[in-house]
Amino acid sequence: MTAPTVPVTDAPAPRATREGWRDLSWRRVKIVARSDMRQLIEDKGFWMPMVFLGAIFFLIIPTVLLLTITKIGNVEVVSQMSKTLEVLPAQAQAQIEGQSPEGKTAYALAVFLLAPIAIVVPLTISTAIGASTIVGERERGTGEFLAHSPAHEKEIYLGKLIASLVPGYATTLAGFGVYSLIVNLLVGPEVGGWFFPTGSWWILMLWVVPPFLALTLSIVLRLSARVKSTAAAQQAAGLVTLPMIAIAYSQSTGALFGASSAGFVIGIIAWVLAVFGLSRGMRAVSRSRLLGVNDGV
């Protein structure tokens, strides 16, 4: 027989009401995220460097620096550090506590000058994960499984976002705990007791770092969905991450130096940008991209 003929046009078929927010299942988002994180845990080659990175920034560098200042009492180092403190804003200088030059120097170092560790670690880890998360599905062929599954594209995107964000942020929070302990143990006696984290650091860690992380990942996941290979994704993500680290570092330092309201304001702006970036990035994950077909987009 001749099959019934349906008029055809060259225009894409209408997509009707598919995969709207109302249909989104957070349960499936969690499933995708959990599976991705489980794969990371199973991959020693990934998490061992991650642990080393956290240890270097949160444990080794602060310990060496603070020990040198507070316990060894290296006069030359303290002198040089004290000069450095003079360039801090007056508002920041007024907050410095401590009786001795060593104490003041150690306090300033711990509270004001080691902010990069809070930014470099999560951005580096999360970017490394995010860059390969979508293109990796395509390269391994598992994108086919996801494309044929009932999971919505938004659920897959959000699941992968969470799976990229959580390891970096969790490592940072854990490292932050270790860092706080070291600072209190080494600097606390110099300033009259345990004092860390300060209010500014709490704001930095809980309010400023997460949106910067989300904003960076929104760009990285878009790249991961568009490029042809994991290697290309890593290269492109590196280009994005470096300026993001610079921006995030400067803003976080500003948040620490300024009044606590500065941190709130920076955080709000970062959250707005992050939400915008994520909503745009969500469109980057499509079934055709998971399958790796050339849709001319």
Binding site: M1, A11, A13, H148, D295
Partner: protein, 371 residues
């Protein structure tokens, strides 16, 4: 394009097809992956999409589940438009792709558990039992706690098959499921696929390996360049594309072909390797007794009379030959079915042989030569 097969016409009381594609077009960049594909998949049957690489088989599968949207035409799976009701459609489909699409860093159980959760089965002891039962069905339960990265290709395929049935789908879609498997494993996998229809499931299988489809397909859809050439049951295709009756005749002594030419009802004489044997193309089954009687009357002491049924491979090349000759697109293959005399058989045999010779050079399946 025009669909070609009369067997596709729904008879009164026939259940609706599980899948229906009408005039579906899909373009990737400058390439037409599907160029007006029409196909129907009947319920509780194995439908085989047959065609060379690049014929559009995988894209057709992706259209059926809504993994890809058509640029034109209509797709209906379970009567639903997958572009709109994608989740509902995909929940009722189980897919095994050419690459097993498994997570190498996870163990077998975790791979199946991930699928179970995504398809809404949840977690817990009952699901674990279900996972073990599915794995046991495909003989892979012993490896569930091992990382998939260490699996052989055969084990991965078995695990992918187990995953595809875990959520008890109504429609199973297998895209070259034996790709990369050794013959023994391929055979086992095909047996498993056959068993699945025993449960009342509908199966669509893509392959470019004709022998795979042999004996498995309830319906065959031959595809090329994103289009369907013909479709129907193997019996239908035989009736429409195979020239009458072919009988292998053996004798105690070499057979004199001049004797055969004088016997009415023999359209073509096809020599085989042994001079004591010959393939006779007859006008129809009704000629067989007369021809045998005439052979005996001419003094031949027959040792063998064997009706030859065409293999799917024979049919496939017959269809492609007619496509090359431009006969299918115009009339949907009906002219061949009408049978217009001796020429059909001669043409088919000789052109089919040429196709096989081309196949031998290009690496096409079935290129070992005429049987």
């Amino acid at each position: 394009m025009t669909a070609t097969s009369s067997p596709d016409a729904p008879a009164a009381g026939t259940p609706d097809p599980v899948v229906s594609l009408v005039g579906v077009r899909r373009r990737f960049g400058q390439v037409d992956a599907l160029a007006g594909l029409d196909l129907e998949v009947p319920a509780n049957r194995i439908t085989v999409l047959l065609g060379p690489n690049g014929a559009g088989k995988t894209t057709a599968i992706r259209m059926i589940t809504g993994a890809l949207d058509p640029h034109a035409g209509q797709v209906r799976t379970f009567g639903l438009d997958p572009s709109v009701h994608g989740e509902e459609v995909r929940r009722r489909c189980g897919v095994v792709s050419a690459k097993p699409a498994l997570y190498d860093r996870l163990d077998g159980h975790a791979n199946l558990a991930y699928s179970a959760e995504l398809y809404g089965l949840g977690r817990g002891d009952k699901i674990d039992q279900r996972i073990r039962a599915a794995a046991a069905r495909f003989g892979i339960e012993h490896a569930l706690d091992k990382r998939v990265g260490g699996f052989s290709t055969g084990m991965k395929t078995r695990l992918a098959l187990a995953r595809s049935i875990l959520h008890e789908p109504d429609l199973l879609l297998f895209d070259e499921p034996t790709s990369g498997l050794d013959p023994e494993s391929s055979h086992a996998v095909l047996d498993m696929i056959r068993e699945m229809t025993d449960d009342g499931r509908t199966v669509v299988m893509c392959t470019h390996l004709l022998l795979e489809a042999e004996g498995l397909a309830d319906k065959v859809i031959v595809m090329e360049d994103g289009d369907d050439l013909v479709s129907g049951t193997p019996t239908d295709l035989t009736r429409r594309f195979w020239p009458g009756t072919v009988v292998l005749v053996g004798s105690e002594a070499p057979i004199d072909h001049d004797v055969l030419k004088a016997i009415p009802g023999i359209r073509q004489i096809e020599p085989v390797a042994e001079p004591e044997q010959v393939r006779l193309h007859l006008d129809g089954d009704h000629r067989t007794p007369d021809v045998i009687t005439a052979l005996v009357a001419n003094g031949l002491r027959l040792t063998r009379v064997e009706p030859i049924s065409p293999t799917l491979e024979d049919l496939y090349f017959a269809v492609r030959t007619k496509r090359v000759a431009g006969e299918i697109a115009e009339d949907g293959g009906r002219r061949l079915a009408d049978g217009d005399g001796v020429d059909d058989g001669d043409d088919l045999s000789s052109v089919t042989d040429r196709t096989r010779q081309v196949a031998a050079l290009t690496g096409w399946p079935g290129s070992e030569g005429p049987r």
